[in-house]
Amino acid sequence: MISPLLRKLRTGFSVIVLICFIFVFADFRSVIPEKYISYLLYLQFIPSLIRYIDLKTMAAGGFLIVILLTLLSGRTYCSFLCPLGIGQDLFSRIGGKIKKRFRRFGFKKPHTIIRYSLLAITLGVGIIWGIYLVTVLDPYSIFGRFMTYFGKPVILVLNNIIAWILGKFDVYTFHHVDIKGFNLLTYSIPVIFFLLVGIMSFVRGRLYCNMICPVGTLFGLISKVSLFRVKFNESKCTRCGRCSVGCKSSCIDFLNYHVDVSRCVDCFNCIDICPDKALSYSLIGSRNIAAGTDEGKRKFVAGSLMMLFGISRYASAQEKKNVPVPKKESTVKEQRTSWVCPPGAGSIEDFTKHCTACSLCIAACPNNVLKPSVKQYGIAGLMQPVMDYHASFCTYNCTVCTEVCPTSALKPLMLEAKKLTQIGKVIFIKDNCIVKTEKTACGACSEACPTKAVFMIPYEGNLVIPDTDQDICIGCGHCEYACPVTPYKAIFVDGNPVHMAAKKPENVESEITTPVEFPF
């Protein structure tokens, strides 16, 4: 095949895929049903592989399809399905447009030692110790972090501007969304990778994919035996070198009529560029047949998408200020034995083994209770999500994070099961409580509790004071969030390192009956 449609197909398809991914991560209004998100993520190689290893079910067999696809067609995954790869093409294109003179990629030798070492180390560490390097290097997760930490805040800013303007005209179709930043440390990895991937792709096309990305290297290996590949028709080639200059993988050695399939990402730019129809994408061993026509340059929307990769600092500057402070400061520190990991995790150990910190759950959580960890799970668990009950609480009627997780680090929970999954236990610190320290009514914690694991018992005079029943507590953290005491809360949730089952709250019919007369 030498049809120019190949490249059109690739750009069209990949733009749609990229837009879908951006939508999924920026969907702060939760308009996309979770099942569509899982369709989109089904073919992401690393998440699918982890899910398969964990669950051993073909329902997580997306990675097998990708391997078959690679055996058949080469590294099409990198150009058609990988959001990070597509994002780099976008950057590369912008880089090419900005450069005054025509940018020349040209053929370069492969970084053989670096790429295979990185693949071997990632595999080795993954098998012997755990997921850590995979977390750092999985291209989907890298993209997810870009979107969550930089992309979504930019989209929220745009949303807020629109909401503000429409609000002036009494239209509330869009609403203001507060932008919650994260601990600055958690930005370190995304920032480093953003610079690394960004600059590399800006200047050198797909260098990152061919030097660092272990998934790319793995597919490169598989591609060496793929059926379809980009090939030269030596009789037609005039050695003009345009293909090589335009190859963002720098893998076309036109002097030797050779395409390095281990680095070729099947973008089909060369086929489109070649004026002599000397390059084709065809079955290994087959002869080239001349056909089709070529046309000029194609344009697609690029500039505006640049906005999606914004800056991180804006978000952290938006942290909530002016938290009301009661008269006296609380004195007793919360004694936490464990942090709280999200519902569906099963246990912290199990969770940290399977989470690649793609941050999709963090982006999808409608209540913003999930935060990337700093040291809660140890340094190896950096950026894996943890519940932050000072920032928000886990909505009782919600299972979104468990549904979107592509790696099975969070396993899907039915709503009824989630309502009985105890991810932590409530602990009341009476000496911090306003009812005791100020001798005034409060009850914010009990009010917030969805199961009445926190309830009020008589105290002095007309006052009532909280008491707790850990058996029916599910650890949602609404009490901790609602407690107005600072700096230490008077009530908090201590994490369950291994999640447990909570008892169903019992309830009995009231003695009060329907009135027949007005009591006043």
């Binding site: 009661p326 009514a441 009850g443 609602a482 005491v485």
Partner: protein, 306 residues
């Protein structure tokens, strides 16, 4: 209204800023003094929420007695919790809908509905049934989820609560109709009219940590007071309030209390719940501060059974 009208006028007609201010400005802002009602309070029992309101408002001279043509109205229900209407943690959506309809019938230019929810606001607006009900009657359902929508006001005479950030709609509308649902409350024992104002402010944590009862009473001092309190006592959460755990917490009382005096309204509501109003501290505090009366015998109350 100030900012918004300014923008609208200047964008639409290109009028000068000064003219715009005088058009939409201060004069109308606090306008709310309807014709005197025949009764101080109407209590209805035995019907559906909407039918009871129809009867009750008729006894008070119709909604036209409280709203003038062209005015903007804020209908403030309790939309605190992400639960279905049957569990009665939120105001009955049928009642909200009917009130909005009456407002428009009386010539309201615009009717707004919002609450500063406790649970996730998107789910809460949806699952409470109120968003749909209010919109179907033509009201604008406005978010209250962000501090951006709140403006600081002063409360002269407030003992504990001297300042608060209130939703801009409270300031920008001409008429405020308070539509609480009567519920048990774990801490204050009961929530109805006065306590419903906690959904108008942004920083209710301050109330909780600075003498909740006094703050509730203090806020009632604020100059923008409801022309009506419509207390929904159709399904009443009699325990485990204000959120409730299951339907066992709910008793169907099929009642409604309508009054301009929120202290009297809450006094009557407490009796519906079987609680001594004196035990609900904010009610006697508000009574002493002269914000209304606990003495129901001094009022002209119309009681209707359907």
């Amino acid at each position: 209204m100030r900012r918004r009208d300014f923008f609208k006028t200047s964008a639409g007609a290109g009028l000068a800023a000064g003219a715009a201010l005088s058009l939409g400005g201060y004069g109308r802002l606090w306008a709310s003094s309807p014709a005197p009602a025949k009764y101080d309070m109407v209590a209805i029992m035995g019907g559906n929420p909407d039918a009871m309101f129809d009867l009750g408002i008729q006894e008070l001279g119709g909604m036209g007695a409280f709203i003038r043509k062209g005015q903007k109205v804020l209908v403030k229900p309790n939309i605190g919790w992400d639960v279905v209407p049957e569990l009665a943690a939120n105001t009955n959506p049928l009642l909200v809908k009917r009130i909005v309809e009456h407002c428009f019938k009386a010539g309201a230019k615009e009717v707004y509905v919002f609450d500063h929810t406790c649970d996730n606001w998107v789910n809460t607006y949806k699952n409470s049934g109120i968003e749909k009900a209010a919109k179907s009657a033509g009201a604008k359902v406005v978010p209250g989820n962000s501090e951006n929508y709140y403006q600081e006001i002063e409360i002269p005479g407030g003992k504990k609560l001297k300042k608060a950030k209130v939703h801009e709609l409270l300031l920008e509308t001409d008429v405020f109709i308070n539509v609480p649902v009567l519920k048990d409350h774990n801490s204050t024992r009961m929530t109805a009219s006065l306590k419903n104002t906690m959904g108008i402010v942004w920083d209710r944590g301050f109330w909780h940590s600075n003498d909740l009862h006094q703050c509730i009473a203090d806020f009632a001092l604020f100059e923008k007071k409801p022309v009506l309190n419509v207390i929904d006592c159709y399904n009443v959460m009699v325990k485990n309030g204000p959120q409730g755990v299951s339907k066992e917490d709910v008793v169907q009382m099929k009642s409604q209390i309508i009054t301009a005096d929120w202290v009297a309204g809450d006094t009557a509501a407490a009796k519906m719940l079987g609680v001594d109003p004196l035990k609900i501290d904010y009610i006697p505090i508000a009574d002493k501060m002269g914000l209304g009366t606990m003495n129901l015998d001094s009022l002209n109350i119309k009681r209707i059974k359907m």
